[in-house]
Amino acid sequence: MTTINVKEGSPLQAHIPEGNLPDKWTIYKDKIRLVSPANKRKLDIIVVGTGLAGASAAASLAELGYNVKAFAFQDSPRRAHSIAAQGGINASKNYQNDGDSDWRLFYDTIKGGDYRGREANTYRLAEVSGNIIDQAVMQGVPFARDYGGLLDNRSFGGVLVSRTFYAKGQTGQQLLLGAYSALNRQIARGKVTMYNRHEMLDLVVVDGHARGIITRNLVTGEIERHSAHAVVLGTGGYSNVYFLSTNAMGSNATAAWRAHRKGAYFANPAFVQIHPTCIPRSSEHQSKLTLMSESLRNDGRIWVPKKLEDAKALREGRLKPNDIPEEDRDYYLERRYPAFGNLVPRDVASRAAKERCDAGFGVNKTGEAVFLDFATAIERYGKEQAHLKGLNNPSKEEIKELGKKVIEQKYGNLFQMYEKIVDQNPYETPMMIYPANHYTMGGLWVDYDLQSNLKGLFVIGEANFSDHGANRLGASALMQGLADGYFILPYTIGDYLADYIREGKIPTDTPEFSEAEEKVKKEIDFFLNNNGKHSVDYFHKKLGKIMWDKVGMSRNAEGLQEAIKEIQELRHQFWKEIKVPGKANEFNQELEKAGYVADFLELGELLALDALNRNESCGGHFREEYQTPDGEALRDDEHYAYVAAWEYPAKPYERYSKPVFPSESILHKEPLKFEFVTPTTRSYK
């Protein structure tokens, strides 16, 4: 075991209510303080981010009567990256009568997270999941239905029931547009003031409480002060620290990281999700990676050739996938995990793909791709349709045509997207896929109230760390974002705000606001006047390579130590040689990116430190030193059943001239207590 010197601070309390697991949320709601409608009108709330979590929170808080200011860096709240979520949203409705329940959804989620999540939060998530579906249907979200007019479901990885509601491969879009419509209704009523093309550049903390933010108007460049009685961050995850990920180009960690620099603890940064089914990278100019929904694993079978020479021939273009006979194909997930087959959780599927490709069985020219094949499903559906239509002795071609139609109904937009990017027809030849960074389970630390250690700062959706442990199951991110925004935060924030009904407007002409604004302006000035020799992307790509090679799907102590050193050197070079064209008081996309990458260059180091500190393998965090003889993750519950929440090591001033080292962060542990489930070794065999 590598021991590193980590400075340890006081342990954290999650403020979990007493009582039996299924009763905790009810007990909590019955005991919290409420704010009267007349007083809600006197209270201001800032919501940063308008994805599923932010938009649903802003709309719900405004409906309750609070005054909400909402901020988005895009030109409209509808553009937030939640829109790109494809496969679906889980809910324990048990409409399929296949044995689902709140308990099972909770259990699958906590097990899927490899027992590194918090029991009470996860149960609450399962408990409110059904309401999300009811709510969305009332908002006009057009979920898929069957011929009887009732809602349809499909299955996702890591579970044995069908509890996923979906709208083709565009579930995130439809749910976000639902939340966007609720937000629009409140904007029309004047209860939400919407600030599009605005970016949060600092959190303002007054006497230990979050009391406002500093923003930049991205069109005019104006630096603005906004105050409120509470600040809510729904600003998403940090996958773009890897440069290439399935996140949008603009997805960034700046709001969360700057809150972290102001004292909010950052929890479990090493828990990142590398999604097994993404379109493989093709060229060095690639700017992002594209996900192919996990829902495809309902019908697609993953394989590589059994023979090394076949894999080589495929790579060299001498063989086509359909030339390889059935008996020479290795459906390695079905072979290794017969119980769950192609629907094992994401971390397991990703590592298995890497294992095969590392062993030389990769199928594209880079050697980093496996097949996702729909031929079996097309034939199965085709036969079913032929039977339904009463066709006697249908030909192979007829069956295939009928089957393709079913596949198109289910995944049409995904197949089209694949064809656009790869220029191959996935109805005729298997898709090629490879793992890519997709989601981050880590994030700002919050307690049961979704409140950070900084009072008055609430963190929701992917931006917080709380519900998915070390690995998130498919179709659970939409569930968590909307649960936090619609149904949890509107209660918990009231209990905090009840103390401030006599506070009056928070002034912005105070030293705390002035100081924060000045620091923001100075850093912008630094960027524009540095006149170095390299663009922002130059540094971002270099950081991404270090992260992917040494802090990616598989990690070891030596590589992590190297990564920390290399990131420090790169950061040093960044502050010396960064070149940002243009001016401060104009639309300046390079300036926006410079801030993101400055923050990623710190976050990456903390991520590596967290991975180095956690001497175990769990979920998406795989340390090569800690594995079972057959290559599965080996947890260490005795030493690591805790949340690692990190405190920023220095006063966050003038980092461009005085170096800061996130690897000197202070560790605060929140011990994870399992009172209702017993952590076991995850088995999907």
Partner: protein
């Protein structure tokens, strides 16, 4: 491949703007159109010139942030494709490519190829919602069965990404396809019927107030829509509008 680019540069809404020529070499056919622009921008920065501003975000065709008029077509030569999903294999070595912003009175230019599409948000705020609070205390989701056909039609209308290609491509700069998509989505669903009459009238009033032109049924919007939003939705909108007016 080598390309000649003619790109609209405009330094803010009050600048007159002009086409500027750029030459670019080493473009790979697997690159996306926006990756080609990334490459150009990196070269401009290295030369000490200002990069070209353009809107983009998800780069997988769903957020609606990217735009661009490419060789006289919204989102370029491909059908059912956003600019971010357009790949350079659609072009040939030596091609000249004209790149311009969306042009419409309701979409003022912010900088270069970036326009202000907030008018579309304001139309949605006028009625693009069902007035239900987000308490979760509604009826069970399966209490009201919805015929699969209606649900599928509502979904097809709801896939609009709000990019504004329909407006940019319309000779009248009409936003009818955009507005009709939302009206039709809710018109097909029982939950949306309750406010149908108010919704269609309020959204149309907002559309007119924003300065979008009238629809003359040329159908160009449908052709250029990257999500294949059907003209049928405009017929539904007209029907809903007529019904609302005769109430």
């Amino acid at each position: 491949m080598k390309l000649n680019l003619k790109i609209w540069r405009q330094n803010g809404p009050n600048d007159k703007g002009r086409m500027v020529d750029y030459k670019i070499d080493g473009v790979d056919s697997d690159m996306s159109f926006l990756e080609m622009l990334d490459m150009l921008n990196e070269q401009l920065i290295a030369k000490g010139e200002e990069p070209v501003a353009f809107d983009h975000d998800c780069r997988e065709g769903i957020c609606g942030m990217c735009s661009l008029y490419i060789n006289g077509e919204a989102h370029g030569p491909d059908r059912l494709t956003t600019t971010c999903q357009l790949h350079m294999r659609k072009f040939k070595d030596g091609d000249t490519i004209y790149i311009e912003p969306w042009r419409a009175n309701a979409f003022p230019v912010i900088k270069d190829l970036v326009v202000d599409r907030s008018a579309l948000d304001r139309i949605q705020q006028a009625g693009g919602y069902i007035s239900v609070n987000t308490s979760g205390r509604t009826v069970d989701a399966n209490n009201i069965p919805i015929p699969k056909k209606d649900a599928d039609d509502a979904f097809d209308a709801a896939t609009c990404i709000g990019c504004g290609a329909c407006v940019a491509t319309c000779k009248n700069s009409s936003a009818m396809l955009f507005v009709s998509a939302k009206v039709a989505q809710f018109a097909k669903l029982p939950q949306g019927r309750v406010e149908a009459a108010d919704r269609v009238q309020n959204m149309i009033a907002a559309m007119d107030a924003e300065g979008f032109g009238s629809c003359t049924n040329t159908g160009a919007c449908e052709v250029e829509c990257p999500k294949g939003i059907s003209l049928t939705n405009i017929a539904i909108l007209n029907k809903e509008f007529l019904l609302a007016q005769t109430k």
